[in-house]
Each structure stands twice: as C-alpha cells, then as structure tokens.
C-alpha cells in the first residue's frame, strides 16, 4: 500500500526530471546551456536558485492563468477530455513495475490493462482538440491520429510478441522472465513507437510550432493546457518505465541494485531520445508514415522469426 502512494510522487518527479533532461540535453547538444541547474549568484534574488523543476513551474503557472473556452467548441468534451487523459495516464503508473517493485503489475491480464490505459490516454489527447473547433487543431489532430495508428501497430505487436514468447499476459511475470533474443527485437520495435508517441523530433509534425500554430493544443489555455502538460509528464514516465521493465531484466535484481540501474538506463534512454530530437528535421506526415511502415514491417518480420525460433 505504501508503495502505491510512494509511486505517485516518484513517477511525478521522475517525469519532471526526464522532461527537464530532454530540454537540458537538447540544449547542450545545440551548443547552449538550457535551463540552469545553478542560477547566477547575482540573479538569485529574482530568478530563483535552481531550474531543475522547470516543467513544474510551467505547470503551476498554467494553473494560475485564466482559462479561455472558445465559443465554437463542444464545451463538455473540450473541458473533460484533458482530465480523462490525465486519469488514464495516472492510473497506468500503478500497473507498470518500478525497478523490482511489482505494484499492481501482477494482477491477471495487467499487460492488456496497461496497453489499454496508454491507448486511452493518447486517444483523449486527440479527442479534446477535435472538440475545440479550430482549423489548426483539426490539421494537427489529423496528423496525430495518423501517427497514432502506425505507432500503435508497432507498440501492440512488440508487447504481444513478448507475451507470446514468455507465455504470459501478466506484466510482472514477463518482466522477471529470462532475457532472450525477442527482448532485443521487440525492444527496438517498441523504441521506434515511443519516438512517435512522445513526439520526438522527426515525428513532431502534429504539434509543429509555427507551421500549424500550436497544433492540437492551439485552443487550449490555462488550466486545461496545464493538465495536458501534466499528462505528458506521466506519459514520459509510463513509456520509459514500461520499456525498461519489459525489455531489460533488472527486476530480478535486489532493490538496492535495481533502482540505480533503473535511473542510469532511463537517463541513457533520454539521452538517446534527445540526440535523435536534435539531429533530425521534422518529417512530413507522409514521410513519417512511409518510414514507420518500412521499419515496422521489417522489425515485425524479424520479431516473428525470433519468436518462432
């Protein structure tokens, strides 16, 4: 029970830390500093001491702002879908094991529950903007929906190929099973779909800044936008924790070893994500779909071959 309460704070602060790290790493790779860890001494009275929790400041600020609800929107759907999205992303943290702690991941069919919750969260990130009635949001949502379909394909296949090869639908049993070749191939497949789901650079066409205003979130402001940001923070944690717990066998280790390993591996993944984020220009949606179909079909084939063997 205590674990379940602790995981709320842990996941929240890890999510904040990861989104800070993405900003910091990509800034550093672009030859600049990024959010300061130590503020300059003479500016501390105005600008604060540290900016490690910069994403949290963003969210608190958004909560303190006035929320504008456009006349042309379907108000109920527009207002409630951020909350539903947050609830889905929030609940899924309990079903994902965290470095050797099983939490609720040993309930039957927990793999299905997690994949369902993550799909639900992303789905309501699409439905809310549709209700806003803004043409920019429509364009963004169309791109997001197309991207969602192709990434979901790879996501589901990688999850269930693991389930078939380990002969279990319980996340905890999969995560403590022994390491084999399917882990690698399915992990690669999962990694490509995480790129699309977290909008890492070649696949950020759905919220393409300055191209289609702010994409799906054009009409969102204040508290509702803050809730979407909060959802994103939980989603970053969800995907990284899921990736590590399924494909990297650290859950069998004792806790004092597995927690530092979890942190190191997650920071490594964030680093790789930020390198990809910095090095790539933005794909057009057509190119992204073609890329995904090519990569996913090849990886799926390899995946199935390794699974059968």
């Amino acid at each position: 029970m205590i674990e379940l309460i602790l995981i709320i704070f842990t996941s929240f602060f890890l999510g904040l830390f990861y989104s800070f790290l993405i900003r910091k790493f990509s800034a550093r790779l672009q030859w600049r500093i990024g959010p300061l860890v130590f503020m300059y001494k003479d500016l501390r009275s105005i600008m604060g001491i540290t900016r490690i929790i910069q994403p949290l400041y963003d969210i608190i600020k958004l909560f303190g702002k006035k929320t504008i609800i456009p006349e042309s929107s379907r108000k109920r759907l527009f207002i409630y879908s951020p909350y539903i999205s947050l609830i889905f992303a929030f609940i899924s943290i309990f079903f994902i094991p965290f470095s050797g702690i099983s939490l609720l991941s040993n309930v039957p069919y927990s793999l299905v529950i997690v994949s369902y919750l993550l799909i639900g969260s992303l789905l309501f990130m699409i439905i809310g903007p549709i209700a806003s009635g803004s043409p920019w949001a429509f364009i963004g949502v169309r791109r997001e929906a197309e991207l969602f379909l192709v990434t979901e394909f790879g996501f589901i296949i990688s999850l269930f190929s693991m389930a078939i090869s380990k002969n279990s639908l319980i996340l905890w049993e999969i995560s403590i099973s022994e390491f084999n070749l399917v882990n690698i191939t399915a992990g690669l497949l999962m990694f490509t779909s995480i790129l699309g789901k977290l909008h890492i650079k070649p696949f950020d066409m759905s919220e393409a800044e300055a191209e289609i205003v702010a994409g799906p979130y054009t009409e969102y402001s204040g508290k509702l936008l803050g809730i979407y940001y909060l959802t994103k923070i939980f989603l970053i944690y969800d995907f990284i924790a899921l990736f590590i717990s399924i494909f990297i066998p650290i859950n069998t280790l004792p806790i004092y070893l597995s927690i530092p390993l979890f942190l190191i591996i997650s920071i490594l993944i964030i680093f790789i994500l930020s390198i990809i984020h910095v090095l790539n220009p933005r794909y057009r949606i057509k190119n992204a779909l073609i890329w995904y179909i090519k990569i996913i079909s090849i990886l799926c084939l390899i995946n199935i071959i390794t699974m059968v063997m």
Partner: protein, 191 residues
C-alpha cells in the same frame, strides 16, 4: 556522418552562451559592441545654441521645439528616436552625441525620462518686446560672420551688426533704413 561529428564537437566545447543579464564577468557581459554603434543620444546643454537644425534634420520627427515664455525648449522623444545620427551629423556646435547606451527600457511614455530636454533662455526684442532667439545663437552668428566675410567690408558689417543685434527679425527689416543697415548700401559702395 559529418553532422554527428559536428554534434560531438559542439557537445564537448564550452557553450557559446553569454551570462547576459548577470554581470558576474563584467568585461564579458555583452556580446560584441561595434565601434560605430549608435545608442541613446545626449545633448550638451552648454554647447547647444538653439539653432533647431536637429529638428529640421530629424528623420522621424522625434526632436521638436517650442517657445514657452522666455524659454526655448528642445525635446527629443526617446521612444520615437531611431538613433539614425542625422542630428549628430548636422549639429554645427557638435553638441549632440550618440552614446553607446543601448539597454533602454521605458515603462511610461509620459514620464520625464522618456524625453531628452534642453532649455535655453531667449533674448527680448528691444523694439516690440517679443522673445526671438537665444543669446548664444546671436553671438555665434556674429562670430561666423566675421570669420567668413570679405576683409574690405568687414568693419562696416561689424558696426551694422552691433546696431541690430538686439532686435528681432521683423524689427530688423522695419528699422533697416532708420538705422542705416540696409544691405543695399554695400551695392552702392561697390558701384
């Protein structure tokens, strides 16, 4: 592959970012400041003679003047000034100088800081009692006249100038016959 090599190079190098709003390293606070940078303008109230050349050359009508009682007030509205430097170029007394101050923020356009003001005392016309020009302006005109004039007629012009010095432009014209300062007399002299 070259982009990856560049990435590694720039990641290892020290970031190019300045510590700008902080002044921990004073000499490295700003980025490059060019020698010809034109910043906030400064008008020397001692040197200014009130010729209004800056008003007539101003590209954005930022410099205006007005007569107020016995004062001539020349004002430059900093917010409208484009720092083009025409006034510095044209000023005969080199009273206007563009400094290198470029960090200018103004919170209220009506406050005193938004204007660069010069107040000059005006002379009163002996005949009609109108305030017409500044003392410095008259003196400076006299000096320039002496410098450039033909030495043959220098003495008579100087005498004439002393006579009309304290009258305004309208009165000078009206009184030119009475005081015998009409310029036509030089034509007769030459003839």
């Amino acid at each position: 592959m070259s982009s990856e090599i560049k990435l590694i190079k720039y990641t290892i190098k020290k970031p190019m970012t300045l510590k700008y709003p902080s002044s921990l390293i004073p000499e490295k606070k700003y980025s490059q400041i060019p020698e010809v940078l034109r910043g906030l303008l400064q008008r020397d109230n001692e040197k200014c003679i009130g010729c209004k050349a800056c008003h007539y050359s101003c590209s954005g009508k930022a410099t205006t003047f007005q007569y107020k009682e016995n004062k001539l007030i020349i004002e430059t509205f900093t917010l409208r000034c484009a720092f083009c430097g025409y006034c510095q170029e044209i000023c005969p007394e080199e009273a206007i100088k563009l400094t290198k101050t470029f960090e200018i923020t103004i919170n209220n356009p009506n406050e005193r800081e938004a204007y660069i003001t010069t107040e000059l005392d005006l002379l009163k016309c002996k005949n009609c009692g109108k305030y017409f020009a500044t003392k410095k302006f008259i003196d400076r005109t006299y000096q320039r006249l002496i410098e450039k004039i033909d030495p043959i007629i220098k003495e008579s012009v100087m005498n004439d100038y002393k006579k009309i010095e304290e009258y305004c432009t309208d009165c000078r014209r009206m009184l030119s016959i009475k005081l015998n300062t009409h310029p036509k007399k030089y034509v007769w002299l030459e003839g």
